[in-house]
């Protein structure tokens, strides 16, 4: 049934495509007529259409006792497991005697039986499907005198192996991260949630790339409306290629003109599994280790996966720390600017004199000083991220010297400013989600401008506008700020606070509306009853 859905989707889009302007680079190329009965003609067409690319391997051979039937197998080198091809496709065919008398349909069944060891044997009669199968890693077989092809699944080839995720590192928790292979990724979730209700639906997106995109959810827990919404948005996509889940993310998110992320992406299977259990929907994209999770809430970006593995008091404290960190990375330079150029009375006397002393030799106004330092820091960070690791270290040494020491000694900036920039930088690195740290980075500059023009008043206005904007955002129909706004008291246990695990009785309300109870309510662990203890004490 699921497969059908994917198929019908594909057909539908093809219809649309033929009506609209052609941007696929494919529609006109692929012959519309069915496969020819003659092997030579078919091979010629394949060669011509693939531009004689030499990774498309065409291997001719002959079948039958007298070797009188010409045949060929075609596969793409690197996408298939060659051992499989030779061992399970070619060898059984060569060893068997091909009965000439068989009808077309029976020939197919005969071959299918011979190829039982491979599986995924399909009957192909049009070129479009042939090429799709070919480039998905199947081996296609053509036989002279038969106007259709047979494909067998021989997917293989090299993939990056499962490694520790590069982002969202946890001290405690599983060490495996997603890879570029969609199948490996979905398997990681299957391994965690062994339940037939874990449903997976696959489709191809990208008129040129034909990238596999899979959505995964737990039937009965995920909200049908959200599932339908995700599917509808994915169906709407009409793009030439999808190379990373970021393409999908930007095409299905609710609001483009916001700095805040309204879908969540992660490299960690445990995070995806936890989100599926809360009723969210995951979107896997072939070729990237980043899996999208929707809907995403603002508070989610402050919840590290380890919060659920560590004990509740520590997790709660850390969550408060993270909100503080976010706030610091947002406003620290703005507060410095406002306090030193407008509200000197708010700084303690000793401190204001110390700052004034440092600023004596600085030739720029506070705002320019702050802006220069922040921009310098952003340059350094960008350089450090993009450069090869070996060069990156050199950059960080130069950066430390330029930012930290030389600039202060030369009197370009005050050391107080350096402290502010460093604390902002560290804070923005400490935010658990990179997506939200980046948005804080952008807003910070806006707040700095406001602080330079209006002081604390400007900062307050900026934060107010930001809050209003946040409250207006939605992610797949779910208010972005929930359960803070709208306020849902029963879900507050897993927002800023992280209550003990046995108190998480319900799933988040707005994401999941029908199946809200997740565990029984009387699981508080307790020491054994006193009578037992007394017995034990006697021995």
């Amino acid at each position: 049934m699921l497969f059908q859905w994917g198929m019908s989707r594909q057909k539908k889009r093809m219809d649309v495509k033929q009506e609209g302007p052609d941007h696929s680079g494919e529609a006109s190329d692929v012959p519309q007529e069915p496969l020819s009965a003659e092997l030579a003609v078919n091979i010629d067409i394949i060669r011509q259409k693939t531009g004689e690319s030499n990774d498309v391997v065409i291997r001719r051979f002959a079948l039958g006792q007298e070797w009188q039937i010409k045949a060929a197998i075609i596969f793409v080198d690197g996408l298939v497991d060659e051992k499989n091809v030779y061992e399970f496709v070619l060898t059984p065919l060569l060893q068997a005697s091909f009965p000439l008398a068989l009808e077309e349909k029976e020939r197919f069944q005969w071959i299918e039986k011979k190829l039982a060891a491979v599986g995924g044997v399909k009957h192909i009669s049009d070129w479009r499907k042939l090429f799709f199968e070919l480039f998905s890693g199947a081996t296609v077989m053509l036989i002279d005198g038969v106007p259709f092809a047979i494909s067998a699944s021989t997917k293989g080839g090299e993939y990056r192996s499962i490694e520790e995720p590069q982002t969202q590192i946890a001290v405690r928790g599983p060490r495996e991260g997603f890879t570029e292979s969609l199948r490996t990724n979905t398997a990681m979730i299957r391994r965690r949630i062994r339940n037939p209700n874990l449903w997976l639906e696959t489709m191809q997106i990208g008129t040129v790339t034909q990238t596999d995109v899979a959505i995964m959810y737990i039937k009965g827990i995920a909200n049908n409306e959200i599932i339908e919404e995700v599917k509808a948005r994915l169906r709407r996509i009409d793009i030439d290629g999808v190379l990373e889940s970021g393409y999908i993310e930007q095409l299905i998110e609710d609001q483009t003109f916001t700095t805040f992320p309204t879908t969540y992406h992660t490299e960690r299977p445990d995070i995806v599994a936890a989100n599926l259990l809360e009723g969210r929907v995951a979107v896997f994209v072939e070729g990237t280790p980043f899996v999208l999770v929707a809907p995403a809430l603002f508070i989610q970006f402050f919840q590290a996966v380890e919060d659920y593995y560590a004990r509740f008091d520590i997790s709660t404290a850390l969550r408060f720390l993270r909100v503080l960190i976010f706030f610091i990375s947002l406003v620290a330079p703005a507060i410095y600017i406002a306090a030193t150029t407008f509200h000197q009375e708010m700084i303690p006397t000793q401190l204001v004199i110390a700052i004034a002393a440092q600023r004596e030799a600085v030739p720029f106004p506070g705002f320019v000083e702050a802006l220069v330092m922040e921009v310098t820091f952003e340059i350094l960070r960008e350089a450090g991220v993009r450069l090869p690791r070996a060069v990156g270290q050199a950059v960080s040494i130069v950066g430390a010297l330029v930012i930290g020491q030389a600039a202060v000694e030369a009197g370009f900036v005050s050391s107080a400013m350096v402290i502010v920039v460093s604390i902002t930088a560290i804070a923005s690195f400490a935010t658990p989600s990179f997506a939200i740290a980046i948005s804080a980075r952008l807003i910070r500059f806006g707040l700095m401008f406001l602080a330079a023009m209006f002081g604390f008043y400007g900062i307050m206005m900026g934060i107010l506008v930001m809050t209003i904007h946040l409250c207006s955002l939605r992610s797949f129909g779910v208010p972005y700020m929930s359960p803070l706004a709208p306020f849902i008291p029963t879900n507050m246990g897993d927002t800023l606070f992280r209550l003990p695990t046995w108190m998480f009785r319900e799933r988040p309300r707005l994401i999941n509306q029908k199946n809200i109870v997740r565990q029984s309510g009387d699981q508080k662990p307790e020491p054994p009853a006193p009578s037992r203890q007394e017995k034990g004490g006697g021995s």
Partner: protein
Amino acid sequence: MRRAITVIVSLAICAGLLSGCWSQKELTDLAFIVAIGLDKTEDGKYLVTFQVVNPGNVAGATQRGGGAAGVPVSIYTSTGDTLVEASRKASEKLSRLPYYAHTNLIVVGEEVAREGLSGVLDAMERGNQLRPTAHLVIARTYLAKDVLTVLTPIDKISANQIIKTIEFSSKNWGETVHVDIWGAIHCLATAGRNLVITGVTVEGDLKRGKRQENVQSSVPDARIKLEGLALFKNDRLVDWVDGPSSRGVLWLLDCIRQTNLTVSWKGKKEAINYQVVRAKTDVKAKVKDGRPVISVHIQAEGDVIETRVPIDLSDASMLFQLEKEIKKNLKQEVEEAIETAQRDKTDVFGFGEAVHRTDPRLWKKIESKWHDRYFPELDVTVTADMYIRRTGLRNKPYTPRG
């Protein structure tokens, strides 16, 4: 729609750019005035002294050059008929905008104080920069200007030195009191209480105190010192009290937190030292035969910290005797203070307020004549409870044997 957005956005940008940076002031354009001194010139004008921080020479600026090479503060003076005029005129000499938000100390010259504070305090309370929590002291013997010119060794900015001295001295010794502008105005506006302000003076050679060498020597040529309490009547300074009786005043004001009392023992003077660690004073008023009577009860706890005579402190009866002796000592101190104030006809203790609370109607009648007629003849009974809580690590002191 599009047009409306364009208009709104351009208006917002204009609003930002045209009004932007309103009241913006860079740190390097501000002169941080940490203390203000008030004196009178011979022709009756105000002589206002500003102590301005020289940020480059304060600790913390050591990151560049030789650090604190020059003097940390600079003194500017100007004259004017009013305070505001004088402070505006100071801009003739100051290269930066005077900034009063960090002014923590107001030194009032004795002469100005004797003529009346009320005209002075208004400008300080009204302005939005100067804080009403700024400390108030009276310059004694010397001019306020002289006090502010002395350089101080440990706290480089002398205003800070004075403020911190007041704070720690009032905590540990109890002969000085912290009065801020608000407190002073509160006292002036209250009929049943008059003002007490700590005095400050210069010890040593004033001329050499201005120079950098003053802080480069281990024994400075001039030091700033707190001395005595100025008693005010209404807004005028009338008298100074010093030593034990100034502490007596502060006992009555319930301002004592910790102090030392030295008592004589068996004929030997100043033999035993008692340290107060917790003290509380209750002032109650009663009306007796239509006349107000005040009873003061002082409660204190403390330790014996020094004995110079042989005494067995493990003996409880000895301790009772000692407590009695301390009580006597304290009562004497307090009564002296009351006598002085009664002689000066100024109720600095707030006895009038106590009467007001007890019998508001009677107070209405006697309010106008309180300080001059009723207070000097007021019956004040002082009772005290002094407890010895600890006697240190030794019960019997050693006796030197020749």
